[in-house]
């Protein structure tokens, strides 16, 4: 079977066409993109959601019609639909074909595991990881590849490969290793934009996942003992993001790339959360102090970079109102104080809760 998708050159032209808002149907552009169609990230997300819903409804119809082995029947139909969008229709990264392909593959895989008599945690996580990986490679989707990597960390956890090391520490190390690998790989010049995107997603997402694997353990150990103890979990939870964060910051500044800088911010957040075991301050004091320090550092950086320093600037480069602006506005509105659910909820004699009607003097 010949898998149809744009060549690396065609994909590069699709990317530059979108970035510079070039006329897609202009002969010079159409000749270079090979007739492949792609959409904006917003349309891709919306079509992906609609595709997932449509695929799920198709599976439900298969079950309601009592089609024998409906998972395979509907799954194959969904895969055929995805390929129809990809090959004759030349859809690339449009969301809908990715959703149909993913659900189709997953349905076939689930039916397969039912046929072989069911698999346990390790087998199941490997199977679903394989589904996401295959779909990610087929449709060049960075989200699928990232989910596959996260699911692989579950497989590492369930495998309990090293008896001497706690399973969650092993899974966390795996995630850190994948993130570090993506960071290193990010230095390479990619031909395909999708491959570069995959490394970006992996390096930004996996540190969170790595931290979450050990965060709970590190906390419970510390709470039980009452004093900070450098257990394997707490060591990984603190030193892992610290090391990766420093590497990411250096890489981001050297390469002038946003993804490593975002990785640095994620790692910094993990370190700050983890440090609360070692700094004996109340939650509110930590939040206010941390917020004030972050605010001061950000404002100082912005002032310092108002005049570009070696090409790095704090000024925005476009005057357009983008999705990021809308998100920041929505975020500001989300921080505004909300009204209580109803007046009836509010009036509670002697309740003394915030927004309540009582005057118990107890807040």
């Amino acid at each position: 079977m010949i898998v149809q998708r744009p060549t690396p050159d065609q994909e590069r032209w699709l990317r530059i066409t979108a970035r510079l808002a070039l006329p897609r149907l202009a002969p010079e552009v159409a000749a270079r993109t090979g007739g492949w169609k792609s959409v904006s990230p917003l349309a891709r997300s919306a079509l992906f959601v609609l595709g997932i819903v449509a695929a799920a409804l198709s599976l439900a119809i298969g079950e309601l019609l009592h089609v024998p082995s409906f998972l395979v029947v509907v799954g194959v139909a969904l895969l055929a639909a995805a390929e129809w969008f990809s090959a004759p229709r030349h859809f690339f990264s449009c969301g809908i074909e990715e959703a149909l392909g993913l659900v189709g593959l997953a349905a076939v895989a689930v039916q397969f595991q039912e046929w072989i008599g069911g698999v346990h945690d390790l087998g199941m996580s490997l199977l679903i990881a394989a589904v996401f990986a295959v779909a990610g490679i087929r449709f060049l989707n960075p989200l699928f590849i990232t989910v596959a990597a996260v699911l692989l960390s579950f497989a590492v956890y369930f495998s309990q490969a090293l008896a001497a090391v706690p399973a969650s520490v092993l899974a966390s190390c795996f995630c850190f290793a994948v993130a570090a690998g993506a960071l290193l790989l990010g230095a390479k010049q990619f031909r395909r934009p999708a491959h570069e995107q995959m490394t970006r997603w992996l390096m930004v997402t996996l540190p969170w996942c790595a931290y979450l694997w050990v965060a709970g353990i590190s906390w419970s150990l510390n709470v039980a003992i009452g004093v900070p103890v450098l257990s394997p979990a707490s060591a990984v939870a603190l030193l892992g993001p610290m090391t990766l964060g420093v590497l990411a910051l250096l890489a981001g500044l050297k390469r002038r790339a946003h993804a490593p800088l975002m990785t640095f911010m994620v790692c910094l957040a993990c370190v700050v959360i983890e440090l609360h075991h070692y700094i004996r301050l109340s939650t509110q004091a930590r939040l206010i102090a941390g917020g004030c320090i972050l605010l001061a550092v950000a404002i100082a950086l912005e002032r310092a970079l108002r005049t570009p320093h070696r090409g790095i600037t704090a000024r925005r480069l476009t005057g357009d109102v983008g999705v990021a602006d809308l998100l920041s506005i929505a975020g500001a509105a989300a921080l505004a104080p909300a009204a209580p659910a109803s007046a009836a909820d509010r009036i509670r004699g002697g309740g003394g809760e915030f927004g309540g009607g009582g005057a118990s003097g107890r807040y």
Binding site: L47, M265, Q284, R306, G311, L335, A339
Partner: protein, 315 residues
Amino acid sequence: MLSLEAEIMELQAAGLVTGPVAQRAVALERGSVFSVYEELRVALYLAVAAILAGLGLVLKDHLERIGPATLVLALAVVAALCYASALRTGQRRVERSAGGEYLLLLGALILSADLAYAEAQFHWFGAQWSWHLLVLAVVHGATAYYFESPLLLSVSVASLAGWLGVQGQTLSLVAWEQLLHQSGWRALSCAMLLLGWREAHRRRGGARPFLGVLDHAACNLACWGALAWCVAGSTRMAGLAVLGVLALCAVRVGLRRGQELFVTYGIGYATFGLCVVEAQVIDGSLATTIAALITVVVAAALLWRCHGLIRAAAT
């Protein structure tokens, strides 16, 4: 790493992009110009959120130790300091930076928390307690215009929605029928109010970013209100009709302005509302599922078509 420099040079040679556009794009590809604006904005937002969360805990836990009057006064002083920084920037007639913008937002949010706390403590408005939200909406609206800050405007809109009782009710579509009915009215009223505000702003030639904030807020509130009606059994047909009209308007606005987000609002909300009503009025799981599948497929086709129209118009 990925460099599309060769493609940009080819485009320039073919005359598809002008020299300055190509030079700028090449500079970005090479990294000779690199902006950390978005990273700083994320950091500033997180800082403001952390400070507010901390202050919320202080208000909750330390009342007896500090005393309400002292707390109210202390918060007012902090908010005033934040506003003073923005005033100073304004007096120097320099453009406010992202840091200044978020400092102003922090001041506004501290003021909101302070007034809400004071109202809860001293009951200045008595039974009309929610009027403090209207006061906040007016104050934030006025300061938004004075400082020309879209962030403050969004806080003002959120306070206004809170005063009308929209927050926390309309956004939950799982509620009693009577509550959903009321929530729908409130959200639609709020959306109408915002549209009126927007029109007045436009006629007076106000700042363009403000129009966007009011448009998005009005569209989402109106669609949520109509959705709430769709969920409630007694108003579902009225809700569907209103939602249909709103969706059509949103799609038309999106197509006219080339803003894909409005098209997505229109199609997304209408699809959801239609599926909800289908689930209520069609008998049998199979028929309902088939109807929902047809709706979703038509929605995807419409979205694709609209995307093509917007793209064609843009180029």
